[in-house]
């Protein structure tokens, strides 16, 4: 994953969001906890302050109390609960026994709740109020040791932090799952586009996910336009070929007449040009059709079926009807090749075999591991071993004695290469040429 990864970005944002939210939650919970504890303490202190004021009998310089506060901690030295009354006259000071030798520094403190740090780790909380008695101001403070509350707060925070960290981890794991499943439609889209590129399908499925549907629609529309453009180009190439080859056929009619008038040399010269032009038109038309189909959907087609259909065509031709066709075909050998390309490939190779065969053509189809093997052998003259490597090169003809352009095998090589296969030539046990076509089996 890199910085442009949506998964990484979402995961980063989720971590940030969860982290900040849980930290804020921890702070808020701690604050609520402490505030709640303090509210109880303040209510208690306030009640004790009121009771102390009610028990107070002030006759300056004396400060007397009708009774002690009922909580025994006020009477126990350093008992944890304290009070102090301080008049604004000299020696106007009264304190609980629990304060022992300490004096609460009330100077500078306003009325209200105050936190004071003692020696070492001690913390105190005091409620201070000013009352007026006989025109004399008296400051009354009631407090308690807050250290235990502090440590309880810290313990609560620690527990909450561990709990929230676990919750955070759980939320992040769930977030990762959410992102993973949320982005699955994109993975499926990528896989579907790869299928289109590999020719395994022609369009994206229309029900990937509602959110990616507009993208799917756009891609499908683009694919449709591309197919239409390619089909138009193919049709134009086909029409161009038709438009050029029909006049060439008419020209051959003229050469026939010339020959009948005894002008054979001129007729032959025109015929040569016509045939040369025709074979190049044919080659480029077939090549353009072949390349236009590259990338479009390939279906799983049967080699067996293509061989049988092609032999049926060749048996109707002058050469083919006199030959013995032997086909040893394993049933249902399926390859992922365009139907038209497979027919073209097998047609070209079988036609070549029929052209050279003396009496028979043998076709064998089999499956070997992941590949389909198709062997086509004839009992013709074959070719010299040193020339085997040159077959299939564009326009390379190894024998000029029979009609043909040498471009058919170049087309066959192109089809095989385009479909991830291999084409090789060898001497056949029947004596002639053996062509071996290897193509990946359909998945």
């Amino acid at each position: 994953m890199n910085s442009r990864s949506i998964r990484l970005r979402l995961l980063g944002l989720a971590t940030l969001w969860v982290g900040v939210s849980l930290a804020a939650t921890a702070v808020i919970l701690h604050t609520i906890f402490v505030a709640s504890v303090e509210r109880d303490i303040v209510e208690d202190l306030s009640a004790n302050l009121n009771r102390l004021i009610a028990l107070m009998d002030v006759e300056p310089p004396d400060i007397n109390f009708a009774a002690s506060l009922p909580d025994p901690r006020y009477e126990t030295p350093l008992g944890g609960r304290y009070w102090q009354v301080q008049g604004n006259w000299p020696n106007g000071l009264a304190r609980s026994r629990s304060l022992w030798d300490m004096i609460i520094p009330l100077e500078g403190l306003n009325d209200g709740l105050h936190h004071l740090d003692g020696s070492s780790e001690e913390h105190f909380i005091f409620l201070v109020r000013t009352i007026w008695v006989k025109d004399q101001s008296i400051r009354v403070a009631v407090g308690e040791d807050h250290t235990a509350v502090h440590s309880t707060g810290a313990q609560f925070s620690g527990g909450v932090t561990i709990l929230l960290a676990l919750l955070g981890a759980l939320m992040l794991a769930f977030g990762w799952l959410l992102i993973h499943f949320g982005l699955l439609p994109l993975d499926r889209l990528r896989s579907a586009i790869d299928d289109i590129r590999q020719g395994r399908r022609s369009r994206l499925e229309p029900h990937l996910a509602v959110e990616v549907q507009p993208l799917v629609n756009e891609i499908n529309a683009l694919l449709g336009e591309r197919e239409e453009t390619l089909e138009k180009a193919r049709q134009r190439a086909s029409d161009l070929a038709h438009g050029l080859k029909t006049p060439l056929a008419a020209l051959q009619g003229v050469t026939h007449q010339l020959r009948e008038q005894g002008q054979s040399a001129e007729a032959d010269a025109i015929d040569d040009v016509v045939m040369e032009a025709s074979k190049h038109i044919d080659y480029h038309l077939r090549l353009s059709v072949l390349r236009a189909r590259r990338g479009s959907q390939r279906e799983s087609v049967s080699i067996t079926n293509a061989v049988v259909r092609t032999i049926a065509v060749l048996k109707k031709t002058g050469r083919g009807e006199h030959l013995f066709w032997m086909a040893e075909l394993v049933e249902n050998v399926q390859v992922n090749v365009h139907r038209q390309d497979l027919l073209e490939l097998i047609g070209v190779i079988l036609e070549n075999a029929a052209k050279w065969a003396k009496e028979r053509v043998v076709v064998r189809a089999s499956c070997q591991s992941e590949y389909a093997h198709l062997q086509i052998a004839d009992d013709g003259p074959g070719i010299d071993d040193s020339l085997l490597a040159e077959i299939g090169q564009r326009g390379r003809r190894l024998d000029e004695s029979k009609p043909g352009s040498g471009l058919g095998l170049a087309i066959a090589s192109e089809i095989v290469a385009q479909n991830g296969g291999r084409l090789s030539f060898a001497r056949a046990s029947e004596g002639g040429l053996e062509v071996l076509i290897i193509l990946p089996l359909a998945r």
Partner: protein, 220 residues
């Protein structure tokens, strides 16, 4: 032999008509797919030369319609597009052979003769029957190895009867296959032709089935 040529290019059609007629065929020409379909469905032809790229209705559709309606005449496809898919489709639609443009005209003639011969159940272009030998390529009939001096029409009659051996052919059928449609014929033209052939080759070369027509006789 009566041939229907379905070709929309006038130059190609003219060249084919000239050569085919010199080779002993009567050629009816149509350049429009629908007209080709109609004539193929309503008239008798010994073979059809069918271009696939016809206007109005393409050749493959025409061929499929013919075969669906039971028309069995041999069809030779002429196509400018030589892809194998088209050839396979053509043959599977009911064509008997195909020629890719541009072609040598004599190759078309040879393929056409082979188709007609195969349709008539003849294994070879040279057929020997008793003392007679018919060479479909050179359009020559010999008796005991000596070539006979026949007129083209006499040869066509014997050739037509030979290609339809075992069948009784009506006068109308013979007229349709031996003469142009627009040709002015006397009402007894076929009888006169049969009489001429019998006079040259012997009475028993053609048998008359009264009320039905003619068939190749035992003397042939």
């Amino acid at each position: 032999m009566r041939i229907l040529l379905a070709e929309d290019d006038d130059h190609v059609a003219a060249a084919l008509i000239a050569t085919l007629e010199k080779s002993g065929f009567y050629v009816e020409h149509e350049s429009d797919g629908e007209a080709v379909l109609y004539r193929g469905e309503t008239e008798a032809f010994d073979a059809v030369l069918l271009d696939l790229g016809l206007p109005q209705m393409d050749g493959l559709s025409v061929l499929r319609r013919w075969r669906r309606s039971g028309r069995t005449m041999p069809v030779l496809i002429l196509t400018a597009r030589g892809q194998w898919e088209e050839r396979v489709e053509g043959i599977e639609a009911g064509a008997d052979d195909y020629v890719v443009k541009p072609f040598h005209i004599m190759e078309v003639v040879a393929r056409l003769r082979a188709l007609i011969r195969r349709a008539g159940g003849l294994a070879s272009s040279r057929t020997k029957l008793g003392p007679y030998e018919v060479d479909l390529r050179s359009q020559q009939i010999s008796k005991d190895g000596v070539p006979l001096d026949l007129t083209p029409q006499e040869y066509r009659l014997i050739s037509y009867l030979l290609h339809n051996r075992g069948r009784v052919l009506s006068q109308l059928e013979i007229t349709e296959h031996l003469y142009r449609q627009d040709y002015e014929l006397g009402s007894n033209a076929v009888e006169v032709l049969v009489a001429r052939v019998r006079k040259r080759l012997g009475q028993d070369v053609i048998t008359t089935r009264r009320g039905f027509g003619y068939t190749l006789g035992d003397g042939f």
